[in-house]
Amino acid sequence: MSFSTAQIWTIIIGLGLGSYLLRLSFLGIIGNRDLPEWVLRHLRYTAVAVMPGMITPLILFPQATDGTLDPVRLGAAAATIAISFLTRNATLTIFGGAAVLFALHFAIH
């Protein structure tokens, strides 16, 4: 890495400021004004529209395995989905998913 101290802090402060403005954007500007129904209808799906897309590459092409399919991670993902579906409990799901992940890791490696 060949960055000067000033360049590193430019990146840190720029990214911090930019991220804060993105977070503040709608919450800060729109505030207590009402949004039209069609906008609200789209916003209801924000979480399910962003998060599956965010983790799909992490599950199918993990960087730790140089982007190749990995039975340990695939198995842990499937188990996590199953536990969540059956228990509807985030704590149990996270513990269960992590337990399957490490069990498969030590069974295979």
Binding site: L15, G16, F26, N32, V39, L43, Y45, A49, T56, F85
Partner: protein
């Protein structure tokens, strides 16, 4: 703000995320230190940016010696989803005071957003004040652990055992967040569109594929909801 029932409910719902935030923060500390950042710079990232995925992208591009502007553009693109979260929370928290909205915005991380929006949809009769208490409850066990874990990772450096699949802590928590959200056909349609979209648009640079996939997925969810409502009226 009194520590209300909603606040403590939020604390309880936020606590399991410590299991993810801890390894995620520690790994960032280790990776950033190995890349050549000092402890102050590592903590600068975690406190000022407070967004793991974007921090990892920034450090990765710094290792690749990308120009400063490209590093900023790529890592900000990862955080564009925060604007969507902000818009999604506005109907719920838009009526609290401006400085409280300022604090909510700083602490807007994936887990806080996901837990809160799920709670707000399940209990629509909550007042904006109660919704805010819940939100602050969720971030209370999450954000301090993020700072501490990052610092520990930076201080311990390479003492974290290599080869363990701790990177997968991230997908596991997100799955624990997403599955309970798939309550209607419209939610399932949006999730499917998101997965397909991100695979189809994987060739786009700077994570633009995710943003495009997310927009199309929101449209898919809204359209399925509209059609189901029409069918119910007929």
């Amino acid at each position: 703000m009194a520590f209300s029932k909603d606040f403590w409910q939020g604390v309880r719902d936020g606590t399991p995320f410590i299991l993810v935030i801890l390894p995620f923060g520690a790994v960032f500390g280790v990776v950033a230190t190995e890349a050549g950042l000092n402890v102050a710079q590592v903590m600068g990232f975690s406190v000022l940016v407070i967004a793991g995925a974007a921090q990892f992208v920034a450090v990765q591009m710094m290792v690749d010696n990308a120009p400063v502007l490209i590093v900023l553009a790529a890592s900000l693109a990862v955080n564009l989803r925060m604007a969507m979260y902000s818009a999604s929370l506005a109907p719920h928290l838009g009526k609290i005071s401006w400085w409280q909205r300022g604090v909510v915005s700083y602490f807007m991380v994936d887990q806080a957003y996901a837990a809160s929006i799920l709670k707000y949809e399940q209990t629509p009769d909550m007042t904006p004040q109660r919704k805010m208490s819940y939100y602050f409850g969720v971030i209370t066990p999450i954000c301090p652990v993020w700072y501490l874990a990052t610092w520990a990772g930076a201080a311990l450096g390479t003492a974290v055992p290599a080869g363990l699949p701790i990177d997968f802590a991230v997908p596991i928590t997100f799955l624990a967040l997403i599955v309970p959200m798939l309550r209607t056909l419209a939610h399932v349609a949006a999730a499917m569109a998101s997965i397909l979209g991100v695979l189809v648009f994987a060739f786009l640079p700077f994570n633009l594929g995710l943003l495009l996939a997310a927009l199309l997925a929101m449209m898919a969810g809204a359209e399925v909801e509209r059609r189901l409502a029409l069918r119910r009226q007929a």
